[in-house]
Symmetry: C2
Subunit: 404 residues, 2 copies
């Protein structure tokens, strides 16, 4: 008899950003004259840098002539891109990562959602709380998370590591030993991160526990402090316990271009089985590569012009982050993040819940943010604003918030 | 304790095309002077049509200016593309499919591999034998296929529907009732298909059995006979039992561009649960859309110029198919397919196994094809040649084969 994957039925409500989109649409329909400023979803607004545009046009031309046309891409991604990644993201930081440990994909969201597939159904996951919802949701779909408690908004078989103002947003080692530890650092949504020394302790902990760290470094380009690691492979021993996921969405504005990659070192094994080989098998069976033209755009991210232009973009967004942080402080809010990440995390005023503050901000300032509780129970009472708007809109939003 | 997904360990050998690539690489290294002609993997060789190239350049320009820049795409894909799909692939053929039943993706391979996720672990799948390996392999990874028998090369919990010369390559209704039926029509690898009337019988069968048909119509553009359906939704009742997967790889040469879509009708339910809503949830959680520029290229496939230019490409490849079919016949081979699909399926001579013939052809004619046994046990003793080479290479390959 045909049966559905019953785990899907366990998922509460719909995906966070869909809910926000529906609320905003309803408000817009009821108030067509209001000018809404969106500092909610983490979507970039600056156009692609000239070096990227040039690379895209050139790659399109390659596809126009039989001699330079490219069909199916190599399973792991084109050599030219994997070489650039290894040189710039790893060798330049003294990380020992090889080209055949890099798997190019259509983005970090796909990889974040799919990576759990190579693990067994009994594995217990640990997540920072709050965090990007895909880690938990993809494990719910795979049946690893147990029963959902509507009161606590927690899953019985997930280890939550609260990251709040009380512990300075640094996750503590859990009492129960996890098998898979998701770390998103710098963190989405809190915009905070840990020092390299703290990260090294996590690597040591994972090795002792026999656990794998899934390290989501999507916001790496925004790190401004010297004592913060850009890659987990800067930490000794990480090759034996960590998978790293990277995105081009935030460092190069590729949210609509779609490109990312995942690193699975050959030293990472479970009972002698290479996780790198397992991921290669998944890649070869269920995926057919990122577009050639997009991989060429990715290569341009690492060119001299590309690097210079993208540094300007990151600086632009981080100027927004500073403006938000300072503006909120001036308005009396308690704020975190915004130094090594394009996210500002604020405590809601007057003990409002996260969704109450969402409605309040939408209705009174016509500003869209993201409710902290959407990222996990410990996000309740917090709220996320992103630095990805235009500078003008960001400043205008802050002016409105100050007037509330 | 950390555990891997043990199902991966059950997968025999590596993916078909990786094995071929390794054999060809070894031969090339040993015989650097030989000029190899590749009629193996189903990869296109003609450059993208001018209408597609123009659309890509224009979309790249959109990404260069803040006013026209696009970030994250809508979950299901851009309206402009889904409208074009509905108009041209469905309404034009009197198929009742709406835009919110169309899910744009990065390609039919991803969708073919991922679609099984929305079904329960106990579901029993039926596949044509031989067929595109992804259906079975993705179900092996999900633990649905039971135990692999090395002798028969069959899985204990998979229903195989042999498609051979004996039954004119038309699958017969299985004795045991399946829950999920994969139909790839026109078929990869045999290049054969069924009539609309035969397909309607499958729809009727699935409805009575309470089964879902996963209909892979990747080769739809190559159909030349009037009594063959282009979409399963041309058959009455298919909205209640069928999911259709489409590709842009073969009709528009997008193997390296990456675009496809899946149709899940709202009438398709299991115990009252909408499979369309489940697929939407998967899409929203584990995928972030196909690139904007690629979706614009997809739109151009349906433009007046695009259609005319792509018809020429299909005609070009089908001229190759005719040349291969006639050439092989002249050389005394028994051949099938090549009328509604770009694949020629031949019986190996002298009772050679498929892999023996692969080696024979590679070594003596320096022509690469695909061993039929790689697509399933009933493919043993058959061999696939594809029409996607250049006409010159195709004719040259046939000349070599005739001289054997």
């Amino acid at each position: 008899m045909l049966q559905i994957n019953e785990n899907y039925q366990k998922l509460p409500g719909s995906y966070l950003f869909s809910t926000i989109a529906k609320k905003v649409a309803a408000f817009t329909q009821a108030n067509p004259d209001k000018n809404i400023i969106r500092l909610g979803i983490g979507d970039v607004t600056l156009p692609l840098a000239p070096a990227i545009i040039n690379a895209l046009h050139a790659a399109v031309e390659d596809m126009a002539a039989a001699e330079t046309f490219r069909g199916y891409a190599p399973d792991l991604g084109y050599d030219f891109l994997r070489k650039a990644i290894v040189e710039n993201d790893y060798k330049a930081r003294n990380c020992d990562i090889c080209e055949d440990e890099v798997f190019v994909s259509d983005g970090a969201k796909s990889d974040s959602g799919n990576i759990q597939e190579i693990f067994g159904p009994q594995c217990k996951i640990a997540v920072c709380d709050p965090v990007y919802p895909v880690y938990v949701d993809s494990n719910v779909m795979a049946g690893r998370t147990g029963v959902y408690n509507k009161e606590t908004e927690m899953w019985s078989n997930v280890i939550y590591m609260p990251c709040t103002a009380e512990n300075n947003f640094v996750p503590e080692f859990p009492k129960e030993t996890p098998d898979i530890i998701y770390l998103c650092l710098p963190n989405n949504p809190t915009g905070t991160t840990v020092t390299k020394s703290q990260l090294s302790q996590w690597v040591e902990y994972a090795r002792k526990a026999g656990a794998v760290i899934i390290y989501d470094a999507a916001y790496e380009a925004y790190i401004s402090e010297d004592n913060v690691a850009h890659s987990i492979y800067e930490c000794e021993g990480a090759r034996e316990c960590a998978i790293e996921i990277r995105s081009f969405s935030k460092n190069a504005g590729f949210t609509g271009v779609r490109l990312g990659f995942t690193v699975v070192p050959k030293d990472l094994k479970c009972n002698g089985v290479s996780l790198r080989d397992m991921w290669a098998r998944r890649h070869g069976t269920k995926f057919n590569g990122a577009p050639y033209i997009v991989q060429r755009a990715g290569e341009a991210v690492y060119s001299t012009e590309g690097k210079a232009q993208l540094k300007e973009q990151v600086d632009y967004y981080m100027k927004n982050a500073s403006a938000i942080k300072q503006g909120l402080k001036d308005a009396g809010y308690t704020v975190f993040g915004g130094v090594n990440a394009p996210y500002i995390w604020l405590k809601t005023p007057d003990k409002m819940t996260s969704w109450e503050f969402f409605d309040y901000l939408l209705e009174n300032a016509n500003v869209v943010g993201t409710p902290g509780s959407g990222f996990g129970p410990s996000g309740e009472g917090y709220f996320r604003l992103t630095a990805f708007g235009s500078y003008e809109n960001t400043v205008a939003a802050l002016e409105r918030i100050k007037k509330l």
